[in-house]
Amino acid sequence: MKWLLVGLMVAATVASDLLQSHQMKRAGVQSVGARGLWSILRLIARRRFLILAVGCMAISFFSFMALVEREPLSFAVPASASSFVVETVLARFVLGEQISVRRAAGSVLVLIGVVLVGE
């Protein structure tokens, strides 16, 4: 059961972030003022892939809650960090982002750090 929840959480997180990144870059630069945030809300309501992204986010959140209920946080946090690796690889091949040596090295340090934080 716990690995099913981890798989569901990671898949939902990855899908949500990839969809958000793809859709938001296509939508153009958004601001964080009151008008900008309202415009993002309207964007979510108009774009079905953003609605799907929000749905995936909800699945990820409730999978994490269910995981935390059954397993210690020291397992749940590092397990959730595995989405970080999958997202980085898919961002390269699906979104076409360029991952330099410096960015890759920094991401590996952050990943080890997140796993330690969950100890």
């Binding site: 153009g28 945030l37 993002i40 970080f84 410096r102 991401s107 590996v108």
Partner: protein, 132 residues
């Protein structure tokens, strides 16, 4: 420069939201049990409600960031939130932070600093007419 200002805004909002939520949940007049209704009622607590609102706004701010910065830039840089959470947990909620957790926060900070020194966008951004 804007991307860093919005990053700070997002990280601060998320940290404040999590702190408010954690504080509110730990100081409920009627502590939540496993009954889902308790969690809905907890939303009526001012600190829990404030936490939820701050977290929703932080989510929208992150979406704004994604409109002009790479996912592989935002993910590691915003992990600095773990460092802030450790400090807030220790100083405001008096939580125990182990040596391993402090070591993890240092690594996150170092990794985020490395990534933040890379270009924030490597794919075309709609409306900017260039690769930012």
């Amino acid at each position: 420069m804007r991307v860093y200002a919005v990053l700070v805004f997002f990280i601060a909002l998320k940290a404040a939201g999590n702190l408010s939520l954690a504080w509110g949940m730990k100081h409920l007049a009627h502590p939540a049990t496993t009954n889902p209704v308790d969690y809905v009622l907890a939303m009526l607590s001012p600190f829990v409600a404030l936490g939820v609102v701050l977290l929703i706004v932080s989510l929208l701010a992150r979406m704004a960031l994604l409109s002009y910065a790479d996912l592989t830039f935002i993910l590691p840089v915003t992990a600095v939130g773990y460092v802030i959470a450790a400090f807030l947990g220790k100083f405001f909620l008096h939580e125990h932070v182990s040596a391993a957790r402090w070591a993890g926060t240092v690594l996150i900070f170092g990794g985020a600093a490395l990534v933040s020194a890379t270009p924030h966008a490597t794919t075309p951004v709609a409306g900017s007419g260039e690769e930012a």
